[in-house]
């Protein structure tokens, strides 16, 4: 019976500290395997207890008290206690912190450790999303003893211990014998990094690897499905893939132009052409698998005639030329070519520029020097970015900003749902961006593998429940 696993990912982590970089690749290897937080995401996206067995919220919503589990040890043998948690959270929200998601900890006023098994977090304002925030990879618990070497030798509390990193090739994990919870079925796991889609196909076909999480070439999936040696899991992600428009600049500061673009887009052609059918069309910035999701595609059906009319109404009867800057992932590159062709059909010429991520961040995200771009927003529940007028697509709507303020102060579930519906409708109506599809997450694996996560509520490859069938 096989007890080890070689699983491939497309991206290699730059280093191994989930608390000081935005690289999802770090979480993809370490989240839930090596590092754990007070709370954690479940396979379905729900919030589960992690290192905290349970927690209580004070009536004013300002104080959270977490009870830690007994017998949790770090991989170096030291015990995990409330001091470690306090250290972790204080480090993440410190002035000079390099935490990429510092905003998650914004509302925390103070963290105290009344006793080794209890942590008390005091907020400056009520925030119903704290347990959700603490489930992020950027909030996993680290120890002060091992923090200096964490980037190369991560020490966590998870079921797997970090063994070796051959840079450019692979990271090896091994089962941690003193894990507090149920021991995983796998004794060892190797993460291999294969960025090239052809290489991915070849490696999978040659069975050099047992599984590929986030398989990069959807066009190959039918072939794997047809092959009895393999199974294909297609899950959902938190990635809303959008055609973002620069709301702060002409011509996209004109709602009519944005509406025209939204009507010029044929979502199904993009999903078929770029993703070979993989992905769910969306009409707003919200994940379809979320219970609060609204289908708002009626605001922007594919209607080139209407698009041309809207353009004429906006004063662009002869169309115009704009830039379309595309980051590296194939959804953007291929999707961009199709979007370019579709926009050309209604009279909008696009100059396509392919950018690397670093360039994209510099030019588009920070410099806001773009007309159109395609990008997938993979952070969970991130509709609040529309409340940031300095965000790269520069949507500045006071009504929406007020709505978000109200949302974060509300902890009643029904009320929250209502507010979220309003928010979704508002941006769809405004055609802030053209909403294309929810990114799918394909995993190709050996047919005998069981227990792999199908969906990607967060970037993670949780191996805790993975096993080989007889």
């Amino acid at each position: 019976q096989q007890s080890d696993l070689t699983i491939a990912l497309q991206l290699e982590p730059p280093h191994l500290d989930p608390t000081s970089a935005a690289a999802g690749a770090i979480d993809s290897v370490l989240y839930a395997n090596v590092f754990e937080g007070l709370t954690r995401f479940g396979a379905d996206g729900g919030i589960l207890p992690g290192l905290a067995e349970r927690w209580e919220v004070s009536d004013d919503g300002l104080t959270y008290t977490f009870d830690l589990r007994d017998g949790v040890t770090f991989h170096d043998g030291t015990a995990m206690n409330a001091e470690d948690v306090k250290f972790t959270l204080d480090r993440a929200r410190a002035e000079d912190s390099a935490n990429a998601q510092k905003a998650l900890f914004e509302d925390i006023a103070e963290v105290t450790a009344p006793d080794p098994q209890t942590v008390r977090i005091t907020l400056s304002q009520p925030n119903g999303a704290l347990p959700f925030n603490l489930a992020w990879g950027d909030a996993v618990i680290v120890a002060p003893e091992s923090i200096d070497a964490i980037k190369q030798a991560p020490v966590g509390t998870g079921p797997f211990r970090f063994e070796e990193w051959v840079q450019g090739d692979r990271i090896e994990l091994a089962r941690y014998a003193d894990y507090w919870g149920e021991a995983p079925a796998l004794e060892a796991a190797t993460f291999k990094f294969i960025s090239d889609p052809t290489a991915a196909f070849a490696a999978m076909m040659a069975q050099d690897i047992d599984a590929f999480a986030g398989y990069p070439a959807p066009e190959n999936l039918p072939q794997f499905e047809a092959d009895p040696r393999f199974q294909v899991l297609v899950g959902s992600t938190e990635g809303e893939t959008i055609l973002a428009m620069n709301n702060g600049q002409p011509p996209f500061d004109n709602a009519l132009v944005r509406a025209a673009v939204a009507h010029a887009i044929n979502r199904q052609d993009i999903i078929d052409g770029a993703m070979f059918g993989l992905g769910t069309p969306i009409g707003t910035h919200f994940a379809p698998h979320n219970p609060d999701y609204l289908d708002l595609m009626d605001f922007s059906p594919f209607d080139p005639e209407k698009a041309r009319a809207l353009l004429a109404e906006a004063g662009f009867a002869d169309g115009f030329t704009t830039t379309l800057k595309l980051p590296p992932p194939s959804y953007a590159r291929r999707g961009g070519e199709i979007v370019g062709a579709q926009l050309r059909a209604v009279g909008i010429e696009t100059e396509i520029t392919n950018l690397e991520w670093a360039q994209w961040l510099e030019e588009v995200f920070r410099g806001k020097d773009f007309g159109l771009t395609i990008v997938s927003h993979t952070e969970p529940a991130d509709i609040n970015i529309y409340a940031r007028p300095d965000y790269y697509f520069q949507y500045d709507n006071p009504d929406f900003q007020a709505l978000m303020k109200e949302l974060s102060a509300t902890s009643d579930m029904a009320a929250r749902t209502e507010l979220l519906h309003q928010a979704q409708r508002m941006i769809a109506e405004d055609h802030v961006n053209a909403y294309l599809f929810q990114l799918a997450f394909p995993t190709v694996a050996d047919a005998r593998l069981r227990g792999l996560w199908e969906n990607q509520p967060t970037q993670a490859t949780d191996l805790t429940g993975v096993s080989w069938a007889e």
Partner: protein, 314 residues
């Protein structure tokens, strides 16, 4: 010979200095901030600034250049921005893949080209010559990435003789060699074609020289003349090409390493550029330039060994 060596050494040092300045300038003007790259979409400006300070990016450029230059002289290439490990260590690790690959490919291409060139030259105009020439024409025209793709399709996916890529490490040398075989072939074949052509035409040129006729008048057969007199003289242009090829093999490996997902220098540099890991880019490019310049220097010295006229001249 000594003077020749010394002047060449001096100009080599100047070349390297100029190269380092050019590399630094080009890399530094590239837009994109390593800190911003690392912190992603939700980062806040103060976090980015904190990270820049931590990486030492807030120091002025001339100062960083001098630091880098001084460090390199002592073998210290600095610390990678993204990986946070010493660049020298990273390069050393990757070199264990790239260098064997380049040497493997060089050996392969030489082993193919020498006999093929000899065969073609000694059978000039015959079927063997025409066959070899046609093969080299094709070899020169095939893009190596496409060739690599076809190799993988045939040998890894359909036949399953080799793994499709990846590198198991040198713990098991045989497995390591096996993993490098397909990439080395993909790299070597187009180079072998070029080398064969040079070898053939160089041999034919030499065979037309007067001293070949002299040797024939001594009673040497055609074959003996080829081995004893033509080969060594014909080697000189061939050596140049081998020297030039080395740089092509190191750099050409970038795409090939991508196709076979080998953790070599080529992939490191590709990754480092996209992550704006400037110091890694600068150091690796510098290393490649250094390698090429020194290899060509060695080739020049090899010339002198092959051609006694050069030992005293110049």
């Amino acid at each position: 010979m000594l003077r020749y060596t010394l002047t060449r050494l001096a100009s080599l040092a100047i070349s390297l200095l100029v190269a380092s300045a050019v590399i630094f300038l080009v890399v530094e003007v590239a837009p994109g901030d390593p800190a911003a790259y690392m912190l992603g979409l939700n980062a806040q400006p103060d976090t980015v600034a904190a990270l820049r300070a931590e990486l030492g990016l807030d120091v002025s450029r001339p100062e960083r250049y001098l630091d880098w230059l001084g460090g390199m002289l002592t073998g210290d290439f600095g610390v990678s921005y993204t990986y946070r490990t010493p660049v020298a260590q990273m390069i050393a690790d990757r070199l264990w893949v790239s260098l064997p690959l380049a040497l493997y490919a060089l050996t392969l291409s030489t082993c193919i080209a020498f006999p093929a060139g000899l065969l073609a030259a000694s059978r000039r105009g015959k079927a063997a010559d025409i066959g070899v020439t046609a093969a080299t024409q094709l070899g020169v025209a095939v893009p190596n990435f496409w060739f690599a793709m076809l190799l993988v399709l045939l040998f890894a996916i359909n036949l399953g003789w080799f793994s499709a890529g990846g590198f198991p490490g040198w713990d098991d040398p045989l497995a390591a060699l096996k993993a490098l075989t397909l990439p080395a072939i993909a790299l070597a074949l187009p180079q072998a074609a070029i080398l064969t052509r040079v070898m053939r035409s160089s041999l034919l040129d030499t065979l037309g020289e007067d001293y070949i006729r002299t040797a024939r008048a001594k009673g040497l057969s055609r074959g003996q003349v080829l081995w004893r007199h033509a080969l060594r003289n014909a080697l000189i242009p061939v050596l140049t090409i081998i020297g030039l090829q080395f740089s092509f093999l190191l750099a050409g490996a970038i795409i090939i390493e991508q196709v076979f997902f080998l953790p070599g220098l080529g992939r490191l540099i590709f990754q480092a550029i996209s992550q704006r890991d400037l110091i890694v880019v600068e150091s690796v490019v510098m290393l490649l330039v250094f390698a090429v310049i020194t290899v060509n220097f060695a080739v020049d010295l090899a010339y002198a060994a092959a051609d006694p006229r050069l030992r005293t001249r110049r």
